[in-house]
Symmetry: C2
Subunit: 340 residues, 2 copies
C-alpha cells in the first residue's frame, strides 16, 4: 500500500506524521456528492448502487487529501438486512414505518447474512479495486445499542425514551433483540473485511444516552463481542459518542483504536486509554471558524495527543454546511503540524 | 417552616431522612395540570397567569408528597424579558420567530428588570402564601449558555450548530450576548428570592454540547457569576446536564448543591464533589419499569449517595407519559429507604 500510515497508527506502529480522515467526509460537504445525490430518487438508492457508492467514497480522497477512504453507506443497512426497512427523510433523518415492540416482532427478524448486504460487499470490492493500493479502505457498522435504539424508537429522538422504556421495563426482550443485532453485525463486518475493508469502526452514536449503570449491560458488552471477533482480522475502532462516563470500562475493550468526541481533553484521554491509539476529536463546529483559528485549534489538538498512536479526525461527522475550504484547511494543518 | 429538610440538606445540615422532589413535577404527568393546561389558549398563557401557575405548582405537593414546590414557569421567560418573545409549539417545543445573529440584534435587547417578569414574581408571592409555611419554594432559571443556545438557534436542536457557530466564529459577539443574559438572570433570580424562593436552581440543560475546552469559557464562568451573587442570599443548585467532562471545574463553583444526571455514578460524584450536597440522579426512563424494580433502583441510588448531604430526584425532568403511580412509588421509596 502506497500510504498506510493510518493503518500503522491504528496498529500502534511508528508513523512519520499524524494520519487524518473525517467522519462523513463522503457526504454533503462535497459538490460531487451533491451532484450524485441529486441524480437518484433517494438516499437509500445511493447506498444500494455500488458504482455510485464507490464514486462518492473516492471523492474526498481526491478532493480533501485524506489518508483513508471510508465506504459510503449507512448504519441502518443492518435493520434492513434483518427485515426492518427504513427511509431517510430529507432534513428529518431516518424513519421506520414499523418498529420493534414485542417478542413476536423480534422472532420475525432474521440474522442477516451476505445476501442481505451484497450491495455493500460489491461497493467495497469496487472501491478497493479503484483505490488500487493507494490508501486503506475503512468499513463500519453501528453499535448494537444504536441500531436497537432506531429499531425500537423508529426515528431519531432527543431522549430515545421508547428505546429506553424497553431496556428498563423488559430487559430480557431488549437483550434478545441486542443479541440478534450483534450476530448480524458480526456477519456484516466479517463480510466487509472479506470484501476489502482494512479496518472497521463501530459507531456507538447513541451510547451517551445510557448511564453509568446501564452502559455496559446494554451497549458495551455487545460491542465487546464484535470487537473480539473482528480484532482477529483487522484493527477495530470503537467510537462511543457521548459516553465519557464509561471511559474506564471502555479502556478494557479488545480494540486498537478509541474514537473520541470533543467532550474529552487529549490529556485525560491519554491517561485513561493507555496503550490504545486515539482518534478525534475536534468539535465539528470549530470548522465554522476562520482558517487561522482552525489551524491554531489543530495545533493545540496535536500538541495534546502527540504525533504517535494518533489519528486526527473530528469528534463527530462534519456538518453539511461546512465550507469545503475549511475542511481542506483542517486536513492540511494536520499534515503540517502532525510531522513526527 | 413545618418541613424544611430539603433546605437543611441543601445547606449541608443533618436531616432525619433524604428529601425528595422531581424535576417537572408540576407538569403533564398530573391530571390537574392537564386540566388547567386545557383551559388556556397556550403554554405561555399558563406561565403568565399567576393564579394558574400557583395552582399547578401546588398540585404535586398534594398529590405526590414531595418535600418542595418549584414554581411553575419556563426558562424562556428570560429571552422574552430581554425583548425576544417565544412560542411553545405543541410536541415541538420552543420556537423563536426572530433569532439573534448580529451585534445590532444584541444591542436591541434590554437587560430585563422586575417589570419584565412581574407575573413570575406574583406567582411566587401567591404560592408562598398558599404554602403557608409548610414547605420550601424553589425558584429557577436557565444557564446563560442554555438561554443563548435558544436565542441564537431559535428552537431545540440535536447539534445546536447555529449557536455553536457563533461561539467559534464570533466569540466576542457571543460573550456580549452571554453577558447581557447573565445580568438579566441575576436580576431575575434576585427578584425570585425577594418574592419568596428559598433556593434557586440554574439549569444548564445544553451544557453537554460544549466540550472540555469551551465549557468554562461559554457556560461555567457565567453560571459562576450568578452563583456568586445568589449564594449570598439562598442556597444555589447548579445542574450541568451532560457536562460530566467538566466535573472538576464544576466542583469549584460557589454553590451548595450540584444536580446530577444519570450518567454519573454516585460513588464517582461523591469523590469529585467533596463538601457539596448532591441532587439526582435516576434515569427518568427507569420510571417506566414496574414498581418493584423502581423501589430496588431507589434503594441502590440511596446506598450510593448516602442519606446525608443528598436530595433525591431524577437525572432529568420526568417524561410526560410516566404513570403517576410510578412517580408516587419513587417518592415513597425515597422516604422509606432514605431514613438516616
Amino acid at each position: 500500500m502506497q500510504n498506510d500510515i493510518l493503518l500503522k497508527a491504528a496498529r500502534g506502529e511508528e508513523t512519520p506524521r499524524v494520519p487524518v480522515w473525517i467522519m462523513r467526509q463522503a457526504g454533503r460537504i462535497l459538490p460531487g456528492y451533491r451532484k450524485v445525490r441529486a441524480s437518484v430518487k433517494d438516499f437509500t438508492e445511493l447506498v444500494k448502487t455500488p458504482e455510485l457508492a464507490c464514486e462518492v467514497t473516492l471523492e474526498p480522497v481526491n478532493v480533501l487529501g485524506v489518508d483513508a477512504a471510508i465506504i459510503f453507506s449507512d448504519i441502518l443497512v443492518i435493520p434492513e438486512a434483518m427485515g426492518l426497512p427504513y427511509q431517510m427523510l430529507e432534513s428529518k433523518g431516518p424513519h421506520f414505518e414499523k418498529t420493534i415492540k414485542t417478542a413476536k416482532d423480534i422472532d420475525a427478524l432474521r440474522i442477516g447474512t451476505t445476501e442481505n448486504w451484497d450491495y455493500v460487499v460489491n461497493a467495497l470490492k469496487l472501491t478497493r479495486k479503484e483505490l488500487d493500493g493507494k490508501l486503506p479502505l475503512l468499513g463500519f457498522a453501528g453499535s448494537p445499542w444504536t441500531i436497537f435504539a432506531y429499531m425500537t424508537e423508529g426515528s431519531g429522538s432527543k431522549t430515545f425514551s421508547v428505546a429506553k422504556k424497553m431496556i428498563f421495563s423488559e430487559p430480557q426482550l431488549a437483550h434478545k433483540l441486542l443479541d440478534k443485532i450483534t450476530e448480524t453485525t458480526i456477519n456484516y463486518l466479517k463480510d466487509q473485511v472479506k470484501a476489502g475493508a482494512d479496518l472497521v469502526q463501530i459507531f456507538d452514536s447513541w451510547g451517551g444516552i445510557l448511564g453509568h449503570d446501564t452502559y455496559y449491560e446494554f451497549s458495551l458488552q455487545y460491542m465487546e463481542r464484535i470487537a473480539n471477533e473482528l480484532s482477529k482480522l483487522v484493527p477495530v475502532t470503537v467510537f462511543p459518542k457521548g459516553a465519557y462516563f464509561a471511559n474506564e470500562q471502555l479502556a478494557k475493550v479488545n480494540c486498537r483504536v478509541i474514537g473520541l468526541d470533543w467532550a474529552t481533553s487529549p490529556t485525560s484521554a491519554r491517561s485513561i486509554y493507555k496503550g490504545k491509539t486515539l482518534q478525534g476529536n475536534m468539535d465539528p463546529c470549530m470548522l465554522y471558524a476562520d482558517t487561522k483559528d482552525i489551524r491554531k485549534a489543530v495545533q493545540t489538538m496535536i500538541n495534546g495527543f502527540g504525533t504517535q498512536n494518533y489519528i486526527a479526525n473530528l469528534g463527530h461527522g462534519v456538518y453539511p454546511d461546512t465550507p469545503v475550504d475549511h475542511v481542506k484547511c483542517f486536513v492540511e494543518a494536520v499534515k503540517e503540524f502532525g510531522a513526527k
